[in-house]
């Protein structure tokens, strides 16, 4: 029997499902960072707000990268529904700690897809995710560095203002 299905689609449907889940996760991250930018703007952390606007754009870029990969491989990318975005944070430290938690969750999710793709022998998906694996190392490292800077600076006195100014160092 001629393999019409394989000629039309280059990855496994299980990988496609997981990548659609990742699209949703990236969209959720983008919306979450936008909510953090809003919080920063409203609480006087204007440099941090710029940082989160940029992060929100980056996450959307990641989402589109996966979306386009699914198109290129003949899959069925799904436009994600994004709900349940938290807009409440107790402090700027809380904002960055939540960011790190988010990034760790994204990293775990990507690693899980890589493992599954490897198990399925889906080399295209596995190689496609190489870029994401390294990107996550960088993303986590950025937030960890900011949290280290916050710990060194402290939040007393002009500390908060200094923290906000220092965040500019992580915005290329």
């Amino acid at each position: 029997m001629k393999d019409i299905a394989r000629q039309s689609m280059g990855i496994k449907v299980e990988s496609m499902d997981l990548l659609n889940g990742q699209i949703k996760m990236e969209a959720h991250a983008s919306a979450t960072y936008l909510a953090m930018a809003s919080w920063c703007e409203q609480n006087g952390f204007f440099t941090s707000a710029k940082f989160f606007y940029k992060q929100a754009e980056e996450e959307r870029g990641h989402m589109m990268k996966i979306f386009e990969f699914l198109i290129d491989t003949g899959g069925n990318p799904l436009s994600p529904e994004v709900t349940g975005i938290n807009h409440d944070y107790s402090s700027i430290v809380d904002v960055f700690e939540s960011t790190l938690e988010h990034e760790v969750a994204v990293t775990k999710s990507i690693h899980n897809i890589v493992k599954k793709a490897r198990e399925l022998g889906d080399i295209a998906t596995e190689r496609f995710l190489d870029w994401f694996v390294l990107e996550q190392v960088e993303e986590e490292n950025t937030i960890r560095d900011i949290l280290d800077m916050i710990a060194v600076t402290g939040t007393e006195g002009v500390g908060l203002q200094m923290i906000d100014n220092q965040v500019a160092n992580w915005m290329e």
């Binding site: 019409i4 299905a5 394989r6 997981l18 399925l120």
Partner: protein, 106 residues
Amino acid sequence: MNVVYQSTYYTLYQSVKERCFYVDFGQKMVRMSLCQLLSLRYKVLSISIEDHFDGDLNRHGFEVLMLCNKEHLFVLNTLEVLDLKQLVDHSFVALGLSEERETASI
């Protein structure tokens, strides 16, 4: 046309000549591209079968399924939904696009 998989109520065929698939729904035969078949898979696997056993969540035990850009409309009962889920699962395995056991969830 070759039979890819046959369940109790439905059959999936592959037409090499036309480079497409056909699903025999009993009342009618629906022509589908692989993209449309993927869309069918998504819609069918997204149906919560548990809701069929809860009178509040699905009072009548029916599902309305629209396929191929709203060209076809089907009203399916619980048994038909279960059978269609089985057809989708096994067909993608038979087509070589899925592993023997469905592990991913939508």
